[in-house]
C-alpha cells in the first residue's frame, strides 16, 4: 500500500479548518454543559421532590439513549415544535444536553457525599442554604468533581465527530468531504485519527495540569 503524499499535503490546511470548528463547538458546548450540568446536579440535591424526580428522569434518558439518536432528535424533532436551529447550533445543543446529564450525576455525587456535619456547622452560624452551597459545599466538592468533569468534556470533544451526520463542517466532516472528491479514505482517516489524537492528548495534559493545581484539603 502506498500513501498519496500529495493528498496528505493538500488536506492538512482543510482539516485544520475542520479542527478549528471542532474546537469552537467543543468550547461552547462544554461551557453550556457545565452550566446546565451544575444546575441540574444541584437541583438533584434539592429539598423539592418534584425537582429531584425531574432531574433523575432527564439523566436517565440521557444515559439510556445513544448520543446519535439525541443529535437526530434535536436536529429533526425540535423544528416540529417550532424551534429551528441551524446544524451547528443543533449540534452544540445536543452535545451540551448529553454531557450535562453526566456532569449532573458527578456534581450530585460529589456534593452529596460531603458529610452532614459541614451543613450543620454552617447552619449553626446562621448561613442560608445558598450560602452553605456556595461557601461550604461546592468549594469542597470541586476537588472530587474536577477529574470526572474533565473526562466528560474530553469524551464530548471526541463525540463531536458524530455531528458530521447532520452536516456540521467539523473535523470528521471536513475529512469526508475530501474523501468524496478524491477517494482516498485510508490517508484521510489516518490523518483524522492523528488530528483527534493530538487534540485529545493536549486536552488531557491540560486537565492533568489543572487537577494538580487543585488545593489539597
Amino acid at each position: 500500500m502506498t500513501i498519496d503524499w500529495g493528498i496528505v499535503e493538500t488536506s492538512i490546511p482543510l482539516l485544520s479548518r475542520g479542527l478549528l470548528v471542532t474546537l469552537q463547538i467543543s468550547v461552547v458546548s462544554g461551557i453550556l454543559a457545565c452550566v446546565l450540568g451544575f444546575t441540574l446536579g444541584l437541583c438533584a440535591l434539592s429539598h423539592v421532590r418534584a425537582l429531584r424526580v425531574a432531574v433523575g428522569g432527564y439523566v436517565d434518558f440521557i444515559r439510556g439513549t445513544p448520543l446519535l439518536i439525541q443529535i437526530f432528535l434535536v436536529f429533526f424533532a425540535l423544528p416540529t415544535i417550532g424551534i429551528r436551529l441551524d446544524e451547528v447550533w443543533a449540534g452544540i445543543t445536543a452535545l451540551a444536553f448529553n454531557t450535562s446529564g453526566y456532569i449532573a450525576e458527578t456534581v450530585r455525587g460529589a456534593v452529596g457525599s460531603i458529610e452532614r456535619g459541614q451543613t450543620e456547622a454552617a447552619k449553626s452560624i446562621g448561613m442560608t442554604n445558598p450560602q452553605i452551597l456556595g461557601y461550604i459545599l461546592l468549594p469542597q466538592a470541586m476537588r472530587p468533581i474536577v477529574p470526572p468533569l474533565t473526562n466528560e468534556l474530553i469524551s464530548m470533544t471526541k463525540n463531536s465527530s458524530l455531528l458530521s451526520v447532520i452536516s456540521v463542517y467539523e473535523l470528521t466532516r471536513a475529512g469526508q468531504a475530501i474523501i468524496s472528491v478524491h477517494f482516498v479514505p485510508f490517508e484521510i482517516y489516518l490523518l483524522l485519527a492523528l488530528f483527534y489524537y493530538g487534540l485529545i492528548k493536549s486536552l488531557s495534559l491540560l486537565s492533568r495540569w489543572v487537577e494538580r493545581r487543585m488545593p489539597v484539603l
Partner: protein, 267 residues
C-alpha cells in the same frame, strides 16, 4: 429587677421528639437565665444531644416550642393567630442567636482557622473582610490559638480544632452557646485545653448549656446541673446538691457507675 431581666434567654416548653416509634424527648420543660452555665448529664440515649439539636432546630421537634429571648424559634405567626413552621431562610436568621459546638468539631476543611471564624462574620453578619478577620483573630487569641491563624484544620490537633470551633461560635455573638459533648472525641491529654476555653467563655458571662461526661468539670463550672434519663429531666439543681445529695434513685445509680466504672459489667 425589670420584666426584661426576668425573661429567660432560653425557654423550652413541652418539647417532644419522636424518631420512628421511639420517643427520645418527652414533654420536656426548661428555662435558662442569662449568664447561666448549665451542664446536662445522663447516660447515652437519654436525649441530651437531641435536646441541644432541637433547640437550634437542627432537628425539628415533634411537638413543643423553643423561645430564645422570648421569641419563638422555628415558628412564625400564620396571620390567623396561630403558628406555622418557619422557612429555612427565617430559621437561618434565628439560628444566629444560638451558637453550637459539635462533638466532632465540624470545622470547614477548605478554610484556615482564621477564615473558619471569619466566614460567618463576613457572610452572615455582613462585616467587611478586614474587620471580620481582625475580630476572628482576636477571638482565636482568646482561646490561645494566636499562632495558628493560617493553618488548615488538618494541620491542627483535635484540641486545637475544637478551640477554633468554640471561637467560631463565640465570634457570632450568640445569646447562648450549646456544647454537644465537646471533649468526647478527644484524646485524654487534649481534653483540658478545651474545657479551659469553655470555662473562660462561661465565666465571662456567656450563657452556656454543656452536654458532657466530664463530671469534675461540671462540678466546677456549672451553676446548675441537669440529669436526664429517658427523654426527661429527672433531677436538677446546684452541682453540690445533684452530685453530693442526689434525691432520685436514677441519679444515684448513674453517678455510681461514673464513680466506679469498673463495676460496669463488660461483655
Amino acid at each position: 429587677m425589670t420584666a426584661a431581666d426576668r425573661t429567660p434567654v432560653l425557654r423550652v416548653e413541652g418539647l417532644t421528639k419522636v424518631f420512628g416509634d421511639r420517643a427520645v424527648l418527652r414533654d420536656l420543660q426548661l428555662e435558662v437565665a442569662k449568664g447561666e452555665t448549665i451542664v446536662v448529664i445522663g447516660a447515652s440515649g437519654s436525649g441530651k444531644t437531641t435536646l441541644l439539636r432541637c433547640v437550634n432546630y437542627l432537628e425539628r421537634p415533634t411537638a413543643g416550642t423553643i423561645y430564645l429571648d422570648g421569641r419563638r424559634i422555628g415558628q412564625v405567626a400564620d396571620g390567623d393567630g396561630g403558628w406555622k413552621e418557619a422557612s429555612e431562610r427565617v430559621l437561618a436568621r434565628q439560628r444566629r442567636g444560638i451558637g453550637f459546638v459539635f462533638q466532632r468539631f465540624n470545622l470547614f476543611p477548605h478554610l484556615t482557622a482564621l477564615d473558619n471564624v471569619a466566614i460567618g462574620l463576613r457572610k452572615v453578619s455582613g462585616i467587611p473582610k478586614r474587620a471580620a478577620r481582625e475580630r476572628a483573630a482576636e477571638q482565636l487569641r482568646k482561646v490561645f490559638l494566636g499562632e495558628h491563624l493560617d493553618k488548615r484544620p488538618s494541620q491542627l490537633s483535635g484540641g486545637q480544632q475544637q478551640r477554633v470551633a468554640i471561637a467560631r461560635a463565640i465570634a457570632m455573638d450568640p445569646d447562648i452557646i450549646l456544647y454537644d459533648e465537646p471533649t468526647s472525641a478527644l484524646d485524654p491529654e487534649l481534653v483540658r485545653e478545651v474545657l479551659d476555653a469553655i470555662r473562660v467563655s462561661a465565666s465571662s458571662g456567656m450563657t452556656s448549656m454543656i452536654v458532657t461526661h466530664e463530671l469534675s468539670f461540671a462540678r466546677q463550672v456549672a451553676n446548675r446541673v441537669i440529669f436526664m434519663d429517658q427523654g426527661a429531666i429527672v433531677e436538677q439543681g446546684a452541682p453540690g446538691d445533684v452530685f453530693g445529695r442526689p434525691r432520685e434513685a436514677r441519679t444515684r445509680r448513674f453517678l455510681e457507675h461514673f464513680n466506679h466504672p469498673q463495676s460496669v459489667a463488660t461483655p
